[in-house]
């Protein structure tokens, strides 16, 4: 990210960059995303060995206790390599909820397992495709010693890969209310839970859940009953900052890939990089990609803020701009390549696809613009 890094940060950055450069060439990535799981278990074990899976988890639970900036360093390199894995789902969403809200038992049972690569998680909160957390309608009725959950969830990342799912449902209030939400811990194999998982355009996996009077014991409640919303917001904001870093990595990859194309491809007997109109357009891409690097750092700093309004305003500002500029950059990357940019076997189109779905994930640029507007006016 071209900022002054501590030695520890440099080590993380270098190790992820080395993984991407040496072990994650584009053709391997394309083969992996075409497998039924969509990622490599072998890679996942490496992630654990390299310490990335425990990076933001508390040191008491086998993690490294690092913050959004360090997570951003991982995500930026993942972006450059279009790395497809349940990292965000498991570490930054599922485990983050457990770390923030789970009981000591829940934490000690799950977090070391996550850090060691033995357990995968995901978070199912959204029902609406716009992923507005307040709009949650799925209900959890008290029933004797436990709950009966009814509802649907959409846009659940790597649902089929997860051993357990953190599911948000209403124990009170009405759709639109912030209060009345609770987290539940559900086994993917839980009786009464229907999971469908789809290969997504961006190389990731995305699932839907359906459950009708699914019975869960009281011990499956994670965190305070009715009080999930502020925790969910904090977890989502840190995940959003991570997406900004990933997008920044992709944006810079678009720039570099296009620049090297400009320096090799000829048309009309000249390198295409010698045409001034194209030079200025690539310069625009470069400037935007540079800006996104700073925005990613800003997002990470904001995500670490203790004041929820400061955090939310900063993250929404970053996510909104990242979504908008990321998509512009992705489209230019394809256009400036011409025909080759349209092909499956070349990176450009896949950069665009991932940048598009990064924008649409966890609230798109318009949703975050509106959230920022509310917080800043």
């Amino acid at each position: 990210m071209r900022i002054e890094l501590t030695e520890e940060q440099s080590l993380i950055k270098d190790s992820v960059a080395r993984f991407v450069a040496e072990r994650y060439p584009f053709d391997r990535r394309q083969k992996l995303v075409a497998t039924p799981e969509g990622y490599s278990e072998e890679d996942w074990r490496s992630f654990a060995e390299l310490g990335w899976l425990g990076l933001p988890l508390p040191e008491t639970a086998g993690g490294l206790g690092m913050g959004p900036l360090e997570v951003g360093l991982v995500m930026e390199s993942f972006g450059r390599g279009l790395v497809a894995s349940p990292y965000l789902a498991t570490v930054l969403l599922g485990a983050a909820v457990v770390a923030a809200a789970g009981s000591a038992t829940q934490q000690s049972e799950m977090l070391p397992a996550v850090a060691e690569g033995r357990m995968k998680l995901t978070l199912a909160f959204a029902e609406d495709d716009r992923q507005d957390p307040a709009a949650i309608a799925a209900s959890a009725e008290l029933d004797g010693g436990g709950f009966l959950l009814t509802g649907v969830k959409a846009g659940v990342p790597y649902a089929a890969a997860a051993d357990r799912i953190l599911l948000v449902a209403r124990t009170g209030g009405r759709p639109g209310d912030a209060s009345g939400l609770s987290f539940f811990l559900v086994d993917r194999q839980q009786r009464g839970l229907e999971v469908r998982d789809y290969a997504a355009h961006d190389g990731s996996r995305v699932g839907t859940l359906r459950f009708d009077r699914m019975a869960l014991g009281h011990d499956r409640l994670v965190g305070p009953k009715d009080g999930a919303f502020p925790i969910l917001e904090a977890v989502l904001d840190r995940a959003r900052a991570a997406l900004c870093a990933e997008a920044s990595g992709i944006a810079n990859a678009v720039y570099e890939k296009t620049l090297s194309y400009f320096k090799t491809r000829e048309q009309f007997g000249k390198l295409i990089g010698s045409f001034q109109a194209l030079q200025h357009r690539l310069t625009d891409v470069y400037m935007k990609a540079e800006l996104l690097q700073s925005v990613a750092v800003d997002a990470a700093e904001a995500a670490a803020a203790s004041d929820p309004a400061t955090r939310a305003a900063g993250v929404s500002a970053a996510k909104s701009l990242t979504g908008t500029l990321g998509r512009e950059i992705g489209k230019e990357g394809v256009q400036l390549h011409g025909g080759i940019g349209m092909t499956w076997d070349y990176e450009a189109g896949h950069y665009l696809k991932r940048l598009t779905f990064i924008d649409l994930a966890l609230g798109d640029s318009h949703w975050h613009l509106e959230r920022f507007r509310r917080l800043s006016s």
Binding site: D128, D129, A135, H201, V334, G338, G339, L369
Partner: protein, 406 residues
């Protein structure tokens, strides 16, 4: 509710003859278009099966040569005016009918009528007219993208034949076409535009290999075609040897009506509005989202303006044949607008657009129907600002031909 019907304010109102023509073709198309074909087109399916393409063409053919709306009656077409052709194409789009079979019908046919020998016309025009012969176009090569005239694939004369060696790329529908027309290098000594010859041949000729090119949206429309000593009889040459560039320029100039993509964009706008009006679980609709409504309105306003520009350029003084480089305006603005609408559609579906499913998939019960095509259409249609002369090339053309700058 104000509906843009695709003909701008007042134009059709002032021309009762065209209005009744519109009613006639609209009625026929809507009553005869098979529902299974319509559904695929409406889902922005990019790869229509060959049998659907030909079935629909034959239905139009039987109505009086409507499958070839730009052909004169003498050759079996309906002999329509430009205005009628324009309306017919718009009605096809508004009804979610397949586009016209572009390579054989709209491009090669008129070129044959203009330049082919009587024998060639008798051989090729009837099967195109009747929907018995699909064509593909062999122009681009791996190192001749924007700079088409630099093509290198050779056709060497050997007695009564040309022997073709080399490769063509971005060949749309090569995998379903019966024949190809293409440009081949027969002389390298002069200017690059000279020494190009226009040949026609059966795709089953020995020595032709087709390699599919998958586009990043996941589809397969284009191919690379390899030629290894492919023998083409001299009788299948269009016009004179070395003069193919001139015929190709004529052929490419025929793409007038479709170029602004207004018809398709009108379709997309309609679909987009229906997505927006659909109620969500909480009873609201995206139409009530102020920011989204404004973006939609802005796109609709631009489409209305583009439609007015298209009409002015096509039907202003001189008619469509007087339109020269201005066609490039329609190409640039039309594809940008089309891409903008498709992007808006993705935004409307939001994360629901993520699953990569075939259009006809039944495997996604929880997903709305547009989840099947919104993202794929958006990604696929990035091609329209690249293919057929990228938008950057179109600006070069305008710069030179209209602005007069070197």
């Amino acid at each position: 509710m104000i509906e843009i019907d695709g003909y701008g304010s007042g134009w059709l109102e002032a021309r009762p003859d065209l209005k009744s023509f519109r009613d006639e073709v609209r009625g026929f198309i809507r009553s005869h278009l098979p529902e299974e074909i319509r559904r695929l087109v409406a889902a922005e399916c990019m790869e229509l099966p060959r049998e659907y393409i030909l079935r629909w063409h034959r239905i139009l053919y039987q109505r009086g040569g409507w499958g070839c709306p730009n052909w004169p009656q003498e050759h079996g077409g309906p002999g329509w005016s430009f205005e009628q052709q324009f309306i017919f194409e718009r009605e096809l789009a508004l009804a979610d009918a397949p586009r016209l079979v572009s390579f054989g019908v709209t491009m090669l046919g008129p070129t044959l009528i203009e330049y082919a020998s009587a024998e060639q016309k008798a051989r090729f025009l009837p099967p195109i007219l009747k929907g018995e012969m699909l064509w593909c176009q062999g122009f681009s090569e791996p190192n001749s993208g924007s700079d088409l005239a630099s093509l290198k694939t050779r056709a060497e004369r050997e007695g009564d034949h040309y022997i073709i060696n080399g490769t063509k790329i971005w060949t749309t529908e090569a995998q379903i076409a019966d024949w190809m027309f293409g440009l081949f290098r027969t002389d390298s000594s002069g200017k690059k535009q000279q020494g190009i010859t226009f040949l026609l041949f059966d795709m089953k000729t020995p020595g032709i290999t087709i390699r599919p090119i998958r586009t990043f949206d996941g589809g397969h429309e284009v191919n690379q075609v390899f030629f290894d000593n492919v023998k083409v009889p001299v009788a299948q040459r269009l016009g004179e040897e070395h003069k193919g560039w001139g015929y190709a320029k004529y052929l490419l100039s025929l793409e007038r009506f479709g170029i602004a993509e207004v018809s398709r964009s009108l379709q997309t706008l309609g679909r987009l509005k229906s997505i927006l009006h659909r109620r969500r679980a909480d009873g609201s609709s995206l139409m009530s989202d102020h920011a989204f409504g404004s973006r939609l309105a802005a796109a609709e306003i631009k489409l209305r303006a583009l439609e007015a520009l298209e009409r002015r350029l096509l039907f202003g003084p001189g008619g469509p044949e007087s339109m020269g480089a201005e066609a490039s305006i329609l190409k640039v603005m039309g594809t940008e607008l089309q891409q903008g609408l498709l992007e808006l559609q993705v935004d409307a579906v939001a994360l629901g657009a993520a699953p990569d499913l075939p259009a006809e998939s039944q495997d996604a019960p929880n997903l709305p129907p547009e989840a099947r095509y919104a993202a794929r259409a958006f990604f696929n249609m990035r091609k329209t600002s690249i293919y057929g002369g990228s938008n950057e090339i179109q600006k070069n053309i305008l710069t030179k031909a209209v602005l007069g700058l070197e």
